[in-house]
Amino acid sequence: MAPRIQSRRVSNALLPYLTSSPSSSSISSIPSLSPSSQCLARQFSATAAPQTKLRRTMFEWLNNEGAALKHHMPGQTNYLRNPRDSNEGGGNRPFPNNPNFISENILSEELRNEIYERVVEKKKSVRAVSVQLGIDMKRIAAVVRLVELERRQRAQGKPLALPYARAVHEMVPTTPLAQDGERQQFHEPINDLPAHPTTGPQIFYPVPESRSFTRVDAGRVFSGAPALEREVAEKITHPSDLAEKAIENPNSIDWVGKGENARQVLQPADVRIPHPQLVKLELDRAAFPEERRKVAQLHAERMERQEKVETERRERAQSRREKSIKHVEPEGGRFDYRFSDAVFTAETTGKDGRAPWAPGRRYGVPTNDRKRGVVKIPTRVEA
């Protein structure tokens, strides 16, 4: 039979394509397969495999440009580089065709240990450390927790994935800790603010030219609140005045709407940013350009006052929470019981007893948690 003989010949003729890379030992081992199995595999195929050209170019690339990327240089990124890009050295874009993807710095070992030392051992506030090192407050808190965990694991003699950590730190960009006399490189912008969903709609709001219209008024317009009284508005010299008020007394922020639609009036960005104190600091610097010591002292005093108020409030809330929860430890049981107070009245459960915010599970309301298209993961972030 002709086809069988032909197929055997073709399969033999195709083999050199697989061994286009002479150096690789694993590929060159293929011809040692028994001839009978090859004959079975390619019995009726007379065409060359379609990816041969691609494979050839791949091996070409691996032997030329790709060879440089085979081993990384410690302390430098080992990313593909766009050949049209002229700038040499490192680069933080791993995907040459996607310039918007930037591989961000991670904290170096020394920097994260420094964060832990400042927060836990020197008892500095998370806010102050965040401003000093230019690291987000959430990241500071996470670092403190993780270093704590690492220390405990070390103390317990548990294994750590150190070779992995070392390899990652060698290959991705890191933010180093400043040496003595150097200026600390900021890790990330710390005062960024996500766009608030209330500011989404475009509102046409005519204002007479004679009236002053600031960020405070814009926030009230966006949240549908009536304009401020003139006497109150005149007292606000700068929107950051409100920040101090909001920190010292969060209940000073007005509410609009009723029932389910009740919401706080949108505050200007000066109030909502993570570090509103820095605005005041900058204003002070502009007001007293020559007196750096005085500015620093004013800032320190302000920070101290606000931190005191904040800790007091946190402690009060914590004690209130603890007072409302009753701990019971029954004898001979494996578990503790925590009784918290709940209020089941017409206000908390709604008129029909089925309000979505009522404590407990609902009657006559399907849970819908298995329905298609019901999104269970959070779809919005509280700004």
Binding site: R145, E148, L149, R152, K326, H327, V328, E329, P330, R334, F335, D336, Y337, R338, F339, S340, D341, A342, V343, F344, T349, G353, P359, G360, R361, Y363, G364, D369
Partner: protein, 104 residues
């Protein structure tokens, strides 16, 4: 008819969750009760072991209870079921139920 303070099971398979309810004794478990006065999560929660002081803490079960409503319904003669009796006695609203057997 007898009023009972009892548990009504909610939650999915293998993840029970109970409302503590006041209902007519002979009504179905899933029927709409007279009133919901609390919740009981029987799945023990473990305190996070991130902090030293939590390392040896025991797991706990969470109960939310409207104490004033519970007192009212006990006052008008509602009878707690055995599991609810246990919870209410821990909350200090009723005496502990005497055991029907003596421990050796």
């Amino acid at each position: 008819m007898v009023l009972r303070i009892r548990l009504a099971r909610f939650g999915n398979k293998h993840s029970p969750f109970y409302n503590i309810v006041v209902a007519q004794a002979r009504s179905a478990r899933g029927a709409k009760p007279l009133e919901v006065i609390g919740t009981f999560n029987p799945v023990p929660k473990r305190p996070t072991n991130l902090y030293e002081e939590n390392a040896n803490a025991r797991p706990y079960k969470e109960i939310a209870l409207d104490r004033s409503r519970a007192k009212y319904w006990l006052g008008v003669g509602a009878q707690p079921s055995d599991p609810v009796w246990k919870l209410l006695s821990m909350a200090g609203l009723v005496e502990k139920k005497p055991a029907t057997y003596e421990k050796a």
